[in-house]
Symmetry: C2
Subunit: 430 residues, 2 copies
C-alpha cells in the first residue's frame, strides 16, 4: 500500500498551491509597503523555550511535537512565529527599534485534526517590537485591512478587545487568578455559556461573579463597557478605532475575545471572514521578551492563518479558475517538426510566456488530451504546413476560439494570454 | 542567558532575507516560465518512508531527525523534496503525466555543521515525472542555466555524468556490488584518491580494478569515455549536450560525479559556481516511485541549495546593498504634525512606496539615527513650515542629496526612489 501523509498534514497540489502563491504575493507586497521586512527562524527550537511558562504555557505543551536530536538535545517544532521572534530579540538586544518584521512560515500543533484544522499550517505574521504606542497596533491592522480588501473580502471583521479591560473587570469582582478566567472565557464560543459557567464554578468563582462576567463578555459597544469599568485598556481601544476610521465597518469591539495564549498583555484581535470563520489574530505581549532573558521590550503583532484563508476563499469562489501556471502548450503534429517546436517554446519563454512541449513522444490527439487534463489554457498547433506558411492556429481550450498568429510575431500570443488572464481575474474577484 | 537557535540552524535577518526573497523570485519566475507548477508537502513524513532502502538508504538514516508523535507514530523531518514527491506520485497514480512540479521548502539533515553546511536548509527543486526522454533533463537544465545567468553568474558549471556509464564500466571489470563503488567514488573530492583506494581495497576490489576505476573517473571528455566503454548512458549525455548547445561553456562532462544518494538510475548533475562550490544537483531516479508502492514511473529532477547560493552571491557581492524593504521614512519635526505625517505615509503607500513613520515619540535627531541604523534610503522631513508651503525636502541618506517635493505630487517621490533602485541593482550585478 502506498504511503500517506502523516495524520493532520497534507500535500498541496498545484491548483491549490497557485492560490497560496497568489495570496502570499498580495500579503508580502502589502507587508513591505507598510514597512515590514522579511525574516526567518528555524522550524524547531529548544524544548525549554517552547515549553516555558508564558511562552506557550501549559496548554500548548500538550500540543507540541517534541523530539531529541542524536546528541540528546531536547527540541520541538515551533507552534507559532511569536516565540521565535522574542527569542531572537532577547538574544540580540541591540537591533534598531522598532524592529518591524514579517515572517511567513509553517508551524505545527498536535491538535485534533478536523475541518479547517491541521497539524501543520502556514502562518504570515507581522510584529512591531519596541514601541509602546497603540500606533503600532494601528499600523499593522491597517495592513491587515488592506490585504483583506485587496483579496476581495467585502465583509471581513476584526474583533477587538483589550486584556487590560477584562483583567480590570475581573479583579474588580475580587477574583485573583485572572488567567484562569481568561482560559474559560476563551472557550465560550466552543463549549457554550453553560459549560463555561460550570468551569468557573469549579474554579471557585461565586455564581454572582460568574453571572456578571458572562453578561460583561456579551458587550460589543465601547460606551457600554465604559459604564461598567474604568480601564486604561478602553482608552487604547478608542485610539486604535480612531486611527482606523477608514475601516470602521470592519471593526467590532467584543468583550468575549481574550485569546488562549498566556502571553498577551493588552489589545487582542481576531480576524474573521463574513461567515465568522477565524482566519487570524494577535495582540500585544509586552512581557515575553523579558521572560526569555531579554531586556523588557514592548511588542505587538498579528498573524494570518494562510491555509484557512485559502480554504475560505476557495469555498467562496474568490479565485480565478486556474489549474496550472503554464499558459501555452505547443503541439507537434509530427516528430519531424519537434526541433522547431522546441524553438517556438524557447521564443515564447523569452517573451515571459510560460510554455511547454511534449516530452512523451505522443500523438497529436494524446497531446491534446494531456492539455485538457492539465487545463492548460492555450495550444499552438505546429506542423509542416504551419512552418511553411509561418502562421499557426492558437486555440483557446475553454472557448474553442482559434486565432491565427505569425510565428515571427509571437508578441501576439502574449496579448491573447494576457487578455484571458484579465477576464479570469475579474471573474475570480466577482 | 538568552536562548540560542538549535545547533546547525540559524535565524535569517532582514538584510539577508531580502536576498533570499530576490533569489526565490527569480527562481519561481523561471520555473513557471518553463512549465513547472508549485507544489508542497509536509515537513515530516512517515519514518518508514524516509528510512526505506533506496529512499535515503542507510547513509541518510543516520542523518534524519526522528521522532514519535503523541500516538507513537514514527516520523522524521524530510531530508529532501524528492522522496515526498515520489510518495505523492505513488499514492496518486492518475495525475496527468508528465507531472512537472517545482517545490521550494526546508529540509533537515543531522549533518556535521560547518562552513556552508547547515542542519536546516532551503531547497528549490524541479522535477518531471512520467517522461523517459532525455528532453526532460534538457528542459530543467535549461531552466537552471537561465536562473544562474539571470542571477549574474557568468562562470557557473553544470557537471554531467550518467550512472549507467559508471555502472557499465564497473561491471565490465567483473565487480558486482556497484553501489559500494559509487559510495566510495562519491567521496573522492572529500577524502582524496588514497583514501578511496583504501576503501575499495577493503571492499575486496583488486588493485588492478581500483587503478582502472581511479583513472576512469578522471575523464572529462565524452569521446575519451567512448573509447573505454560502450554504454547507453553515453548516448543520453550526448543528447543532453546537443539540446543545451547555447550553454556549451557551462557544461562539463565529469566521470567522477556519481552523487551519494542511492536512488539515481541515469544522468546525474551537479551545479557549481565558478569557485567550484556545489550549489545543487540531481538526476534521474526511474525506480523510486515503484519502490514506494506506485506504478513503475520514470522521473528526473534537480535541486538548488538556496542557502549556499545566497551565501556565495553575498561573498561575491552580487547583491545590491539593501538592508530594508522600506524606501522612505517620513520624519515628524514635532508631535503637532504627526497626523499629517500619517496621511503622507498613507499616500506614499497608496503609490506602492514602502514607507514608515515614527512609532516611538522620538525627537527629529533620534528619528534620523533610527533611519541610519536601519539604512532606510530616503527621508522626507515634515514640520509646520513644510505643511504651510506644501513642499518638503526629500533627502537621499547615502549621498546626502536633497530634492524638493510637493506634498500633493508624491509621484515624484516614486521616481526618485525608482531611479536609486535602478542604480543599486546595476551595482549589484556589476
Amino acid at each position: 500500500m502506498p504511503f500517506q501523509t502523516p495524520r493532520g498534514t497534507r500535500d498541496i497540489e498545484p491548483e491549490e498551491m497557485i492560490r497560496y502563491e497568489y495570496v502570499l504575493s498580495v500579503i508580502k507586497k502589502v507587508f513591505e509597503k507598510y514597512g515590514f521586512d522579511p525574516f526567518d527562524t528555524p522550524a524547531f527550537e529548544d524544548w525549554a523555550l517552547l515549553s516555558a511558562k508564558q511562552g506557550g504555557g501549559e496548554e500548548i505543551k500538550q500540543e507540541i511535537y517534541y523530539f531529541k536530536d542524536k546528541s540528546d538535545r531536547e527540541l520541538g517544532l515551533r507552534f507559532d512565529l511569536t516565540v521565535p521572534l522574542c527569542r531572537f530579540v532577547a538574544a540580540n538586544p541591540d537591533i534598531p527599534k522598532p524592529f518591524r518584521r514579517y515572517q511567513i512560515g509553517k508551524v505545527w500543533r498536535y491538535d485534533k485534526p478536523g475541518a479547517l484544522r491541521w497539524r501543520e499550517f502556514l502562518q504570515a505574521d507581522i510584529d512591531i517590537v519596541g514601541s509602546e504606542s497603540t500606533e503600532a497596533e494601528a499600523e499593522y491592522l491597517l495592513a491587515i485591512c488592506e490585504i483583506f480588501s485587496e483579496l476581495g473580502f467585502r465583509d471581513f471583521v476584526i474583533r477587538i478587545n483589550n486584556r487590560k479591560i477584562t483583567e480590570d473587570f475581573v479583579k474588580a469582582l475580587g477574583i485573583k487568578n485572572v488567567i484562569d478566567v481568561f482560559r474559560s472565557i476563551d472557550k465560550l464560543e466552543k463549549i457554550g455559556a453553560k459549560a463555561v459557567e460550570k468551569e468557573l464554578t469549579e474554579k471557585g468563582i461565586s455564581s454572582a461573579s460568574i453571572k456578571r462576567i458572562l453578561e460583561f463578555v456579551q458587550l460589543k459597544d465601547i460606551d457600554k463597557v465604559k459604564k461598567q469599568i474604568s480601564s486604561e485598556g478602553i482608552n487604547e481601544i478608542e485610539k486604535i478605532l480612531a486611527f482606523l476610521a477608514d475601516y470602521k465597518k470592519n471593526l467590532q469591539v467584543d468583550m468575549s475575545l481574550v485569546r488562549g495564549l498566556e502571553y498577551y498583555t493588552g489589545p487582542v484581535f481576531e480576524i474573521a471572514t463574513g461567515a465568522g470563520i477565524s482566519v487570524g489574530g494577535g495582540g500585544r505581549y509586552d512581557n515575553l521578551i523579558e521572560i526569555f532573558g531579554g531586556k523588557k521590550t514592548p511588542a505587538t503583532g498579528i498573524s494570518i492563518g494562510i491555509d484557512r484563508l485559502v480554504a475560505v476563499m476557495s469555498e467562496k469562489k474568490m479565485f480565478p479558475a486556474i489549474k496550472t501556471a503554464t499558459k501555452v502548450f505547443v503541439v507537434s503534429v509530427s516528430e519531424a517538426v519537434k526541433k522547431n517546436v522546441v524553438d517556438i517554446v524557447k521564443n515564447l519563454r523569452n517573451l515571459s510566456i510560460p510554455a511547454e512541449f511534449d516530452l512523451m513522444g505522443r500523438s497529436l490527439s494524446k497531446q491534446l488530451s494531456y492539455v485538457n487534463s492539465r487545463e492548460i489554457p492555450f495550444v499552438l498547433v505546429i506542423g509542416e504546413k504551419e512552418l511553411a506558411s509561418g502562421k499557426a492556429k492558437m486555440r483557446d481550450m475553454t472557448s474553442g476560439k482559434e486565432t491565427d498568429v505569425w510565428l515571427d510575431k509571437l508578441e501576439d500570443v502574449k496579448e491573447i494570454v494576457a487578455s484571458k488572464d484579465q477576464a479570469n481575474q475579474a471573474r475570480g474577484n466577482a
